[in-house]
Amino acid sequence: MTATPVPARAAAPRPRRYVNRDQVLAILVVMPSIVATAIFVYGFIGWTLRVSLSNWTGLMPDYSFAGLRQYLELARDARFAIDVRNTAVFTTIFLTSCLALGLFLAILLDQKLKGENFFRSVFLFPMAISFIVTGVVWRWLMNPATGTRITGINLLFQQLGLGALISRWHLTDPPWGIAFVAVPAVWQMAGFTMALYLGGLRAISEDLREAARVDGASEFQMYRYVIMPLLNPVTLSAVIILGHISLKIFDLIVAISQNNIALDVPGVYMWRATFDANNYGRGAAIGIIMLLTIAVLIVPYLVYSMRSEEQQ
């Protein structure tokens, strides 16, 4: 009589203990990543914050507390003022051009044309390339030299009889020089924006378009009033991704402008201040400001996407 419940009771805990052991294994597997992230991301951010609040302005480490000294100095720093203005101009030109060109290319490719795959590949290939390569190539394409040293696109304009289009590119008066530096960045990222929009367009059912056409909408009206509003989430994603690339742009500027202060951005200044001038406090303060600027963009987006995932 008592024999029957015994095996049942003995059997019941066994799978449970089994799962528990596996659960421990699971946690052990992710532990190194958690520890690494805790140190290399969060710990290092804290460390940078500490340096940014210190008097460390030379080769020797100095963690003595200086309050907001580094930030206040940056606020008065002419070079950092250039950086802020350049970032604003670069981001505006880069974002609006990528979005406009990306959407334009996506709509062109959405017309069921022959050779769609070829064109799509052509618009997207710059994405595969390092910003350094892009910078080196475009530095030549946009070389501002004139006279017998004329070269790059300017030379092409001259030879095609389009002399009026010859430009001094990034030697142009500030802030327009940095606007020209956005051109290669757009060249590199417009295809990616196109791919995002094309994904969005393909997700919109043909029925919806037909319905709009039946209601007498022209193709333009259909895109303007039916398709565009449906693409808003794609635009939001694109703004987040392009925006955070733009705010931390570094390698492209280094490769194109070399040491031209007129084209400086925070990413470059941070690198120069820290590793050339050994002004660690200032470098750290710039790093923290960059982080905060990007957090303003990213955190609401992360919260929003986490919430919408929970709702699903």
Partner: protein, 276 residues
């Protein structure tokens, strides 16, 4: 005008616009190719857009001489970085999708944040830390850094991929007596190949194209090719045509991946973009 008429009129216009845009996107490639193929004597600024007379590889050879040790450095750094990243991401993704524990979703979000930080905000401690570990200047140090800062994206891609593997498949394996390790080895891993390809390509491209970590963490002899190319272009002695050929050589590995494995490249791109 009826719709069919406008269609007939606009079609050539559409092609014209596409071709014009394609020319804009391909212009640098044209310049790189023709420059590389010119003989050294033939290179001059005034003829930079002209087609080469015959095929020579002078500029490529010169650029290759300067860049090949660094191309090799890049490969020695990028291949292990991509492989280790994929393994880490796969195991993490497996846990965060199929072995959720208390607070695992919170921890996953905590990991994801690493994807968006500007690296300038961690650069100073990183350099000090790597120096202390004796890893600054070494290629293995750079591998470590790419693996660590890749955790967020690789975990994300694998987690999303495994979310598509039905739990019933795992339950069946569990009834057969498989546990954490057995289920991974016999059920999950064999299904993971497409995700592995995406993550391998993504991490390969990211590490190969990186400049910031490379420039602060490596020295003269361990420079990856991006740093070497930038310094080649910054020097006054090296001629522009050699720089162009060097740029093409540097771009080649990731371009080949894009050409032959573009589908997976794009998938990685989208995974890094749309979610997060």
């Amino acid at each position: 005008m009826n719709p069919r008429m406008t269609r007939r009129l606009t079609r050539p216009l559409l092609y014209l616009m596409l071709i014009f845009m394609a020319l804009f996107f391909l212009m640098p490639v044209y310049l790189l190719l023709i420059t590389g193929l010119k003989s050294f004597a033939e290179v001059d600024l005034q003829r930079m857009w002209a087609l080469p007379k015959g095929i020579h590889f002078d500029n490529f050879i010169l650029a290759f001489e300067k860049l090949s040790p660094h191309l090799w450095n890049s490969m020695r750094m990028v291949i292990p970085a991509a492989i280790i990243s994929s393994v880490v991401g796969s195991l993490n993704g497996y846990v965060f999708s199929k072995w959720k524990f208390k607070y695992s979703d919170v921890i996953f979000t905590f990991l994801l944040f690493g994807m968006f930080i500007p690296y300038q905000a961690i650069l100073i401690p990183l350099v000090i830390f790597m120096e202390k570990l004796g890893l600054r200047g070494s290629i293995s140090g750079l591998v470590l850094v790419h693996v660590i800062y890749g955790i967020a994206i690789t975990t994300l891609i694998f987690r999303n991929y495994y979310a598509g593997v039905p739990t019933e498949v795992l339950e069946a394996g569990r009834i057969d007596g498989a546990g954490f390790v057995g289920l991974y080895r016999h059920v999950v891993f064999p299904l993971s190949i497409p995700a592995f390809v995406v993550v391998l390509i993504w991490q390969f491209t990211q590490a190969y194209n990186d400049f910031l970590f490379a420039v602060v963490l490596t020295g003269n002899r361990t420079w990856p090719v991006t740093v070497a190319l930038n310094n080649l272009a910054g020097s006054q002695i090296v001629q522009w045509n050699v720089q162009m050929a060097g740029a093409l050589l540097t771009a080649l590995p990731t371009l080949l991946i894009y050409i032959f494995l573009g589908r997976y490249f794009l998938r990685g791109l989208m995974a890094g973009a749309l979610k997060g």
